[in-house]
Symmetry: D3
Subunit: 238 residues, 6 copies
Amino acid sequence: MRRLVVTDVPRPDPAKVRRLEGYGTATVHEALGRTGSLGPDLRPIQQGMAVAGRAVTALCWPGDNLMIHAAVEQCGEGDVLVVAMAGPSTWGVFGDLFATALQHRGARAVVCDAAVRDTATLREMGFGAWSRHVSVQGSVKATAGNVNLPVVISGQVVEAGDVVVADDDGVVVVPRGRVDEALLGCEAREAKEAATRAAFLEGQLGLDRYGLRAVLADLGVSYRRWDELDRDAVRSDG
Amino acid sequence: MRRLVVTDVPRPDPAKVRRLEGYGTATVHEALGRTGSLGPDLRPIQQGMAVAGRAVTALCWPGDNLMIHAAVEQCGEGDVLVVAMAGPSTWGVFGDLFATALQHRGARAVVCDAAVRDTATLREMGFGAWSRHVSVQGSVKATAGNVNLPVVISGQVVEAGDVVVADDDGVVVVPRGRVDEALLGCEAREAKEAATRAAFLEGQLGLDRYGLRAVLADLGVSYRRWDELDRDAVRSDG
Amino acid sequence: MRRLVVTDVPRPDPAKVRRLEGYGTATVHEALGRTGSLGPDLRPIQQGMAVAGRAVTALCWPGDNLMIHAAVEQCGEGDVLVVAMAGPSTWGVFGDLFATALQHRGARAVVCDAAVRDTATLREMGFGAWSRHVSVQGSVKATAGNVNLPVVISGQVVEAGDVVVADDDGVVVVPRGRVDEALLGCEAREAKEAATRAAFLEGQLGLDRYGLRAVLADLGVSYRRWDELDRDAVRSDG
Amino acid sequence: MRRLVVTDVPRPDPAKVRRLEGYGTATVHEALGRTGSLGPDLRPIQQGMAVAGRAVTALCWPGDNLMIHAAVEQCGEGDVLVVAMAGPSTWGVFGDLFATALQHRGARAVVCDAAVRDTATLREMGFGAWSRHVSVQGSVKATAGNVNLPVVISGQVVEAGDVVVADDDGVVVVPRGRVDEALLGCEAREAKEAATRAAFLEGQLGLDRYGLRAVLADLGVSYRRWDELDRDAVRSDG
Amino acid sequence: MRRLVVTDVPRPDPAKVRRLEGYGTATVHEALGRTGSLGPDLRPIQQGMAVAGRAVTALCWPGDNLMIHAAVEQCGEGDVLVVAMAGPSTWGVFGDLFATALQHRGARAVVCDAAVRDTATLREMGFGAWSRHVSVQGSVKATAGNVNLPVVISGQVVEAGDVVVADDDGVVVVPRGRVDEALLGCEAREAKEAATRAAFLEGQLGLDRYGLRAVLADLGVSYRRWDELDRDAVRSDG
Amino acid sequence: MRRLVVTDVPRPDPAKVRRLEGYGTATVHEALGRTGSLGPDLRPIQQGMAVAGRAVTALCWPGDNLMIHAAVEQCGEGDVLVVAMAGPSTWGVFGDLFATALQHRGARAVVCDAAVRDTATLREMGFGAWSRHVSVQGSVKATAGNVNLPVVISGQVVEAGDVVVADDDGVVVVPRGRVDEALLGCEAREAKEAATRAAFLEGQLGLDRYGLRAVLADLGVSYRRWDELDRDAVRSDG
């Protein structure tokens, strides 16, 4: 594990970050060609909050939050702190004191691959938190790690300076070099979805809108009425 | 995997379905002799919603929602779409566009053995969702499956035309041939529980109400005062 | 498994219990030298409730709640029922009828190492519940166990007469012989945290407040500017 | 849970069962249209054993092996005992005494959705065992279940009289009505695989043998030389 | 976490330990009233080895093996080192160098609630290892813990001076105050099992030997012939 | 997901690869500063095999092995095929036919983040396999992915041209730019370990060899004799 704190990471254009926040994780993820998700196990501790911001990353030893202290200093206006662990851990490494320090610096949320605690207070403060666990189990400050080097969470690489987008559906990372591509994709997707939604509200089916009847036929899917079905032959496939 | 879409599945009596919805999952499950539960891992994305409806089933390939499109067409007034997966998957196969199309047709909820997304929007729409995961990870429409054939979720067989009951405690399936038996059982159980609740509110104990003191004695359970206990002999059994 | 019900377990001083409730799980856990947590998998079914009370313990066979009936009789004013399982189980062993009986006796909450059900009703009743699972799957009353002997949940020993503290962050156990030590520790910690919070609100960093810059230097952590970084050399460490 | 022991379940043709055993689980599973697998979590306790036999099913309460005693009586020459659990359990319900009784009756193996124990002895006896866990944790004989009614293991329905095939790769179930179809499919598949193996041994590629170059092209997959790759653009997709 | 190394832990009578080793884990576990198991997730890295010895315990921080060094000094002839973790961890804390030092002192095996590595070498050395994981991931020596204080593994308390019994089925702990009770129970159980085995080899059924036909009848279990079964009524209960 | 097959990936010096194979995963992992491990869940299907080779990577859709066919063509003498999945999957995507084709081309092993099957045959062939699961569940060839782009397995980035080292302890990846560093580190570590082993065989303790007595004292760890211990104060910390 490299023992390095990287400083002065470029911050993406705040206006673009705000637009990504507005689109939300599902749209951004699609706009990136279905990449960027930190997976279903990083859950929000609050409901109804959406956040996007520059990623400041920290890599910590399990049960040790020393490097979060180093990372706080690297955080500023609108940032999202991303805490990765050198190994799987269920322990709490982040609580309301860190949130106080971060909020003072303008940072808005934490994404934590271990546990957060003081969740009631975090909700009161309006400081966003997405984490793998909630746990009171406390940490030490004894082991080195790094700040703002690339980390991996749930198989997804996150680099300092990327844009983290988080809402009720989870967390998505936009590589800093793909922000414009993501925005273009979001715009296109929103337009397409709006049209689809309108069509669905008028009763059109996805089967027709996307030409899926032909796909089904090509794949050999046939139709049969319930009362013409040989019930003995349809035991579940598992 | 059979490649078949079954149509015209009989719909259970709406009045009976409504009554099952009123009883809720725990009562219905007991009324069926403690069967029918889809287990603890299918969780609601909302709180305080109770739904019952005819099951329309879809069996999808992991990461593929083609068959949901086929299933939407089979859904109508009051139905619950039940999405099973051919293998374990954490990916999102259901979101707000599907909910829009289903709500337009009168369907009320989805039960999904993979992930849903757009959860904030689903909650706003009042479209119920119970799922194993929440995840933005998107799907393709490339692989065949089936609609309205029996599926298995968490070890429980679900057949099209069964009644799905879902609330804060989870999801229970009533086989279409056992709806009347379930209703009778629910009625009986509610009466019994009301009497028990009243007795408990007056201070009666389950030990006495159910004759369990004799059961405990038969099983060799004895009583001892704390200050007469040999503390060295009571290390935890694990 | 010993077949014993222990009665007349001493109750800790209610005033002290109330103070522990006020401090909350994270503070109490720290005050105990970072011990006592029942881990991240025992989650509350409600949000915003904090409870502390004397532990009344029950050890049950998986899928069997006979011993909970015996434990209810041992519960009184302000108690918390702690249900441990002889083996891992996802089944529901606790619901609203038990809560009714317990609430009548003055007990306030249940901590359950299996599943609870009737969660909507429990929330309405204001009866607290922390559990590993939520599940409708019902239980029998057929197998012996014990009440008020030491149990283990998530690797933590809980003894009857200990104080259980539970809130949004989870559950912590204070051994009955360490209540005063815990209170002293809580007091000290709260004072220290208040000072830290004030300092953080004025912009001080943990790095400076805790003298961590020297620790980082000792551990060989160095600083480098982003634009001076050899990007090829910083592929993620995993 | 129905409380029933079903007797006199028809036994499939032993010659056909023996042929299925020879083909092995992977081939049989493919011959059934990729169905029938009990999944990756039922593992053999031995290496190098292949078994096929008529399924005799038992449904047990977690931690209770009463119904296995009832099932033993229903087992005979060449049978495979299939033990399902009413709920998830890690406890040992099967050991060398059961194996002794079963081997005496001509049965050959057990498939157990909980744990087996006495594994060293089972290996010495040459009695096959596939199970979800290995654990010494013992069981009681206190709770009713059933024998030879349909059960579900890992989402796969198993009915008494089906053929269970088990080897180093796991366990596959052939519905009794599909034995001939399975044999035909196995024969065809073996022939096809033999030809493919011969072709591969002469250097042919699957890409060419199965016409996959066109499939790749249709899906938009292109080729590029390593030294012509823009390395910055190929950060992992996660 | 207390920071203490306890020395001079009494060693149980070696002759009795040897006898426990001979009985094996399943018999010992039954002799203790079905207690003492460390559960199904602590697996041997070798097959066919049985070991019993005095427990020397170490409690380590995740990813840190400092306290194992302290524990080695406390190990002697015939001991089994038991490594517990302060929190869940998949990292390797034990390898062939530790085994070399321990073997030199006469210790025979390790039981590790995290991961071991150098497994090929450990097998060659004949040094037994039971662990939750196998992993190369290395550890630091930075954080305090304790040696020979009580630890909990898989919900089972292990105290220094207890007897650890381990074989292909897993690991069982005999509290040092219950060794004689365990031996008596083992003797009785072996005799009983030998008689049962003989009876089973002559064709007797457990149903008859244990009087279970009456139990089944009492529980309402009935018998029906396959060809008299209403197949529509026997859809799986799940 | 980028749809690209990268060809002509440089192969590391075979002599160096052979030396890495000789050192084994634990030593290589340490030589890389404790990085590179694919974690404890990728297990070998065989015992006693050690392999090192150039990584050829494939990224597949769950349940789909189309891209493995494309990857086979990119494999040659001494290579190790590394199969990553776009999402978690337990399905079999690799079996003996692939092994036949690969062995024909000189490739030696597969590392698979899903399941392999035909494990008995693979062992007979001497073709190495490390995988997350073993499962017969078969795959389709329908969805695009990529070959020889960076992939992530268990949070570790693997790039085509890296050296994969695998043995009984698991799998470690050496970035192609760090092969020399790894070899130097291995050499140093082996020398150091040999000296330590010799010292341990003569009775030296790690406590003394590594100067850990001072570390323990600094951390506040004290020593106490068993018979001087206040047993009431040492209830397990959990």
